[in-house]
């Protein structure tokens, strides 16, 4: 499965002068990728002879996220090292090359999105590179032989039941499972599990013809100046209705 090293959601992000974020903050495994790891490990427990590999594209520090994945039960890990940032097209090309160099996977699990840049795209590009079917936001997963049944969440709680064959790519949603947090012995064991490092440049990936380039980034300043509404409950309710109707213009009546 693919796991990404991302800034902790509780951390304060500071944007430096070079449009890069100040990296002196805690980084964690992307939350949905935990669901991806959990599902892969569960599948291994059911099918016995599976080899569960965690793959990431990132800086050397992303090793921490791979170790967490191994503490959660992955057998080994691959770190594709690159100092620069990548859009989802080149990320997918890199992950695809690293995965294919290692062998042909039956299933690739990813998270449904990464919380740092909310692309929702890497798994689709990855599936296109691997030429296999893909679904995202899976909340239920079952496998019989080479057939996979997944339930994906759609709008307003609608559920879509889908069937496909392996190999395939599955983007894990939050409700797919409850990730179990590793215990100390697992964490210690994970330190000894094999981790292969590959330099991105050694994968010989051609530069894609298209790309998404960030040209500017700035922190958001929270600029809201609260107006206090007070009075009795009835007076307050009247004022709220007034705001809804006159200021926001969202009431028909």
């Amino acid at each position: 499965m693919c796991v990404k090293h991302v800034p902790d959601t509780a951390a304060t992000i500071r944007i430096g002068t070079d449009d890069c974020i100040d990296e002196n903050i805690t980084f964690i495994m992307n939350p949905y990728d935990e669901n991806a790891v959990e599902e892969a490990v569960r599948l291994k427990k059911q099918t016995i002879d599976a080899d569960v590999i965690a793959v990431t594209l990132g800086k050397g520090t992303a090793e921490a996220t791979l170790r967490s994945a191994m503490a959660m039960g992955a057998d080994r890990a691959i770190l594709v090292k690159s100092k620069s940032s990548h859009d989802s097209i080149s990320t997918a090309r890199a992950l695809c090359a690293a995965i294919q160099r290692d062998g042909d996977p039956d299933i690739v699990f990813t998270g449904k999105e990464s919380v740092d840049n909310e692309g929702f795209q890497t798994m689709f590009h990855l599936a296109a590179c691997l030429d296999v079917p893909v679904v995202s936001n899976a909340v239920k997963f079952a496998m019989t032989d080479t057939t996979i049944r997944v339930t994906c969440e759609m709008e307003a709680g609608d559920l879509e039941h889908i069937e496909m064959e392996t190999p395939c790519v599955i983007g894990a949603g939050k409700d797919l499972n409850q990730p179990s947090y590793p215990k100390l012995p697992d964490i210690l064991k994970a330190r000894k599990k094999p981790l292969t490092e590959i330099e991105l440049s050694d994968l010989g990936i051609a530069t894609p013809a298209s790309r998404v380039e960030m040209i500017k980034i700035e922190s958001i300043k929270e600029e809201r100046y609260p107006e206090i509404i007070d009075g009795t409950a009835d007076e307050i309710a009247d004022t709220i209705v007034h705001v809804l109707r006159e200021k926001a213009k969202v009431l028909d009546g």
Binding site: T9, T12, I13, I21, I89, V115, D116, N117, E118, Q121, H125, A128, V134, V135, S136, R149, E153, M154, E155, A156, G157, D158, L159, E160, H161, I162, E163, E165, C168, K174, D175, P208, A209, S210, V212, E213, M214, I215, I217, E218, I220, R224, Y225, P226, I228, I229, D230, A233, I236, A237, D238, I240, V241, V243, L244, A248, K249, V250, L251, G253
Partner: protein, 317 residues
């Protein structure tokens, strides 16, 4: 002339209002505007679409007639239409369905796509979106043959631009898909979808239990609002996780967001900070949200909400 297409989504037989906002993003580009629609919906949508500046409505079918819902098939058929009409710029919604289709189209074309944009400039090929769960805002440039953008629902409002649109059929040629959609199970359809609602009223720990959420649903109905929740309310099992707003829940941009008994954590704000007006009802004048909103009501929500529901029912009859 340059051609721009907008992927149209329908709900209950009508064009989703958020799509009209996405169309308005294409207005100032003096391009020929195409609307791509599926499944026999062209006739129903023609009038609305031409009233908002669409020049050509393309109804996509296949050799076997209307294409039943299958994201893989829809994406492939959409690509064939883009290629047939020589359209290089595609806009859609960053809704659940839109994300699914746009990402698939982008992947199959290996095209650049910026998801969840709050603004786009189609001549410069740039788009603005939030980063790091809303703590930063960035501008992106797409480079390549195609340019795809998923617009955040409600980030832009609909702008009428009456004209006449031509209705055309496009027949895609589809092979068997590697995805088989067995069934689509409907959720609670009488409730307004969070990501597309104009008004959201959300409850947090202050709601105390599941039953009390009924007063929010009751208040939401007369103003056609959607009901949201903080993670605490979801984790406690009071409401379904599909209602969670925030970092690990939904990202919403309603015109009005009313937070009841929610303290305003960074993670909650990540999901609703782009709302037009934020209103907070909280007992604690020092709760974070009371300093980061537009209207602060320092009171007990159990007094305010029922009073508000009564007033709303009076005016909507």
């Amino acid at each position: 002339m340059k051609r721009v297409a907008v992927l149209i989504e329908m709900k209950d037989g009508k064009v989703k209002p958020a799509c009209l906002g996405a169309i308005s993003a294409a207005h100032d580009s003096d391009a020929e505007l195409f609307a791509l629609v599926f499944k026999g919906t062209a006739a129903a949508s023609l009038e609305t679409l031409q009233a908002h500046g669409i020049d050509r409505v393309i109804e996509i079918t296949s050799q076997d007639g209307p294409i039943q819902w299958n994201a893989d098939h829809w994406a492939r058929a959409g690509i064939q239409a883009l290629q047939y009409y020589n359209i290089k710029t595609l806009l859609g919604l960053a809704s659940v369905q839109g994300k699914n289709l746009l990402s698939r189209i982008a992947a199959l074309l290996e095209a650049p796509l910026v998801m969840d944009c709050t603004a786009v400039n189609l001549s410069e090929h740039t788009a603005v979106k939030s980063q790091f769960s809303g703590r930063a805002v960035a501008e992106f440039k797409t480079r390549g043959e195609y340019h795809l953008y998923g617009m955040r629902p409600n980030a832009l409002s609909a702008v009428p631009s009456p004209g006449k649109a031509i209705l055309e059929m496009f027949q895609a040629v589809l092979e068997k898909s590697k995805l088989r959609v067995l069934e689509v199970q409907q959720g609670l359809s009488d409730r307004v979808d969070l990501t597309e609602a104009d008004i959201i009223i959300s409850g947090g720990r202050g709601m105390e239990n599941s039953d009390n959420f009924d007063i929010l649903f009751e208040c939401a109905r007369p103003m056609s609002a959607a009901v949201g929740a903080s993670r605490v309310a979801v984790d406690a099992g009071w409401v379904s996780h599909t209602m969670q707003v925030g970092q690990t829940g939904k990202t919403v941009s309603p015109k009005v967001y009313i937070a009841c008994g929610i303290s305003g954590s960074v993670q909650h704000f990540a999901g609703m900070k782009t709302a037009g007006i934020i209103m907070a009802i909280n007992l604690d004048p020092d709760a974070a949200i009371m300093h980061k909103c537009d209207y602060a009501v320092c009171a007990n929500l159990f007094d305010i909400i029922p009073a508000l529901t009564r007033k709303l029912k009076e005016i909507t009859g």
